[in-house]
């Protein structure tokens, strides 16, 4: 047991802070200095799967592993939209999740920000054109930042979320 625990503690696994991703920064459409100042360095995130294939969820999950350890940046995931600053929304928004997403958004106190994750969250991705989906996240709630990818890697997700903070 002790040997096993020591093995886990031997060397740090944690990655360095990722550099800003210019592609993501360019997509930060409505973010401005005031918003970044307001968020400071603490961010409570409520994740909402609005229709994803679950590929994005796995990479969002990975943000909590020892390599990315997202909480060291002051970012943590919360269980209720009422506790959240940011909604991290994946998937093409399906017809069947539209209402739930709208209600989750309304349940999130102002000021709030919405981050759309993945190529499907951006514009429906490969599911665009289906009669069962509404479209990208921005077709249902206002989006402040898009982190593209299929799925975006944890490093990309982290770089995107850190761009919400002022330097």
């Amino acid at each position: 047991m002790l040997k096993f625990l020591r093995e886990g503690l031997r060397r740090p696994l944690t990655e360095n802070r990722p550099p800003p991703d210019p592609a993501v920064a360019a997509l930060a459409t409505t973010l401005n200095a005031a918003a970044q100042k307001r968020l400071g360095h603490s961010l409570a995130i409520r994740q909402v799967d609005a229709g994803s294939c679950n590929g994005c969820e796995l990479e969002i999950h990975a943000l909590n592993n020892a390599f990315y350890d997202i909480e060291r940046f002051g970012i943590h995931f919360v269980a209720s939209p009422r506790h959240a600053d940011v909604l991290l929304v994946t998937g093409p928004v399906t017809l069947n999740m539209r209402q739930a997403l709208e209600r989750t958004w309304r349940a999130t106190p102002d000021p709030k920000w919405v981050v759309a994750v993945g190529d499907c969250g951006a514009d429906g991705g490969i599911f665009a054109g289906s009669s069962a989906i509404v479209g990208g996240v921005s077709s249902v709630v206002p989006v402040d930042l898009v982190i593209p990818g299929c799925p975006p890697s944890p490093t990309k997700l982290l770089a995107g979320l850190l761009s919400l903070f002022a330097d």
Binding site: N54, L95, F127, S130
Partner: protein, 485 residues
């Protein structure tokens, strides 16, 4: 004595359906098949709608056989399978939603994937003194997929769970129609992201069957390498997550590190962490170089050592055993009736594994065992995963040692035909059936293992306390997206 072959012989055989026989039958034969299903003499593999016809895929255990029966339904109605065989009910509700065909005699008139009835959806009535309900979802408290669980409880004991699914229904069937092959392959890889390799293999194998072609040996072995890496990554995630739900986070932390290492090895070797789009009809998209071959072998050795420490820790931690042993028991009879695949079936005495039967290359050349337990509780499902990780590591070592040389792709002809495949994803068998017409997908049906596993979760939670639901649910880990399509 076979019951399936006389049913097939009584119909008109489809000539271009591979590798399993398909026959167009009349209503009398269709009803005979339903009677055999209800008597437990066959297992329903799937039922799906097509242009003016309904197909059902059947599995017989003794002698082992698979076949497809097709019933024309020109007036848009057909005799429901679910009227006598409950595992068909949700699939037939979906057929009604997606194709408008009415399954005559289906005991459930409600929509399933179509939510246009919105909040008018009538949950099943539950009556009794002092009962209360807990509605959960579709938006859940964790980073997981959406679905609704309606618990009816007596104190803290669950007396009934009713699921409502379909929230992530994306119109996959519709998107497949008339899709070019490359787009359809990418779509198949996004039906359930956690099983993208298995879906990629299933789709490619169905296409290759329809066109009667075989990819080069190296491609087939590389597919199995990716599939077993995917299985290990998912089982590690589940093993850790189940322990975490019993507040034993140290195992989650170590499993998450190992899982990340598998994903990084996949990224280095194949250029994508979850290996999406790396399986294509005709072969694989990327080859494995010598450096990554060595790196994956070293990782397998490392995981074998570390994971055995974790299973030992799990095994001797009383607080964990207290939560998992005798919790959420799935009785073997129900597992058999529903044809439960993967760790759910194998923890309850059903040893079906598509890699063994019907089997596909290269697994016929790989030496591996399918672990089977009979207790059917959360603990048994944990141990099946643990043992499967061991088997997958052995397979990976063998693949890396004996990987054949040669090309990794072959050109796919622009042909027509019908193909079907059963592929063992980490959570069970995925059935993919398709019809190609001049190089395009005319119709593609996908049935995730979750279709037959979700209803069993309703049965498993009965009589357990609410606090044990996360453990039961995580020990199942059904796909929402793979089910909702």
């Amino acid at each position: 004595m076979s019951v399936l072959s006389p049913l097939l012989a009584a119909g008109r055989p489809a000539l271009s359906h591979r590798p399993f026989p398909r026959a167009a039958v009349d209503e009398a034969v269709w009803r005979q098949a339903i009677a055999h299903l209800a008597a437990g003499e066959m297992t329903l593999l799937s039922v799906w709608g097509d242009a003016h016809q309904i197909h059902m895929a059947l599995l017989e255990d003794e002698p082992q056989a698979i076949g497809v029966l097709t019933l024309p339904c020109p007036d848009g109605t057909y005799p429901a399978i679910g009227s006598a065989h409950p595992p068909a009910i949700r699939l037939e509700r979906a057929i009604r939603d997606l194709f408008g065909y009415e399954p005559i005699g289906l005991p459930d008139p409600r929509g399933w994937l179509d939510h246009r009835d919105g909040t008018d959806y009538a949950f099943l009535p539950v009556t009794g003194e002092g009962l209360h309900q807990i509605p959960v979802g579709p938006v859940h408290a964790g980073i997981i997929e959406p679905g609704h669980f309606r618990f009816t409880c007596d104190g803290e004991t669950v007396v009934r769970l009713e699921q409502r699914l379909g929230y992530v229904h994306k119109g996959v069937d519709e998107l497949f129609m008339n899709a070019p092959l490359d787009r359809a392959a990418r779509l198949a890889c996004r039906v359930s992201g956690d099983s993208t390799v298995a879906y990629g293999i299933g789709f490619a194998r169905a296409v290759e069957s329809a066109l009667a072609v075989s990819p080069p040996p190296r491609a087939i072995w590389l597919r199995a390498l990716m599939a077993e890496m995917e299985r290990i990554a998912n089982h590690l995630g589940d093993f850790g997550a189940i322990c975490n739900d019993a507040s034993f986070t140290v195992i989650l932390s170590h499993c998450a590190v190992m899982r990340e290492r598998v994903l990084r090895a996949a990224d280095a070797a194949f250029g994508h962490r979850s290996m999406m789009d790396r399986i294509i009809p005709g072969g694989v998209a990327v080859d494995l170089d010598a450096d990554n071959r060595t790196a994956i072998a070293a990782l397998a050795t490392d995981i074998r050592t570390k994971f055995s420490d974790l299973t030992a820790l799990y095994d001797r931690t009383a607080s964990l055993q207290d939560r998992t042993v005798t919790t959420g028991i799935l009785k073997p009879a129900l597992a058999k009736q529903f044809g439960a695949g993967g760790h759910i079936g194998r923890a309850s005495g059903r040893g079906f594994d598509a890699r063994k039967y019907p089997g596909y290359a290269p697994y016929d050349a790989l030496d591996f065992e399918v672990p089977v337990l009979t207790k059917g509780d959360v603990n048994a499902r944990v141990w099946i995963r643990a043992r499967e990780i061991g088997q997958s590591l052995t397979m990976i070592e063998r693949i890396l040692r004996d990987l054949p040389d040669g090309p990794i792709q072959m050109p796919i002809p622009r042909g027509s035909g019908e193909g079907m495949s059963l592929t063992e994803a980490f959570r069970g068998d995925v059935l993919i059936w398709l019809r190609l017409n001049a190089g395009q997908v005319e119709r593609c049906h996908i049935r995730d293992a979750s279709w037959f596993q979700w209803p069993l979760l309703e049965a498993v939670i009965e009589g357990n306390i609410v606090a044990d639901f996360p453990l039961c649910n995580k020990s199942f880990n059904c796909s929402y997206s793979g089910h909702d399509l």
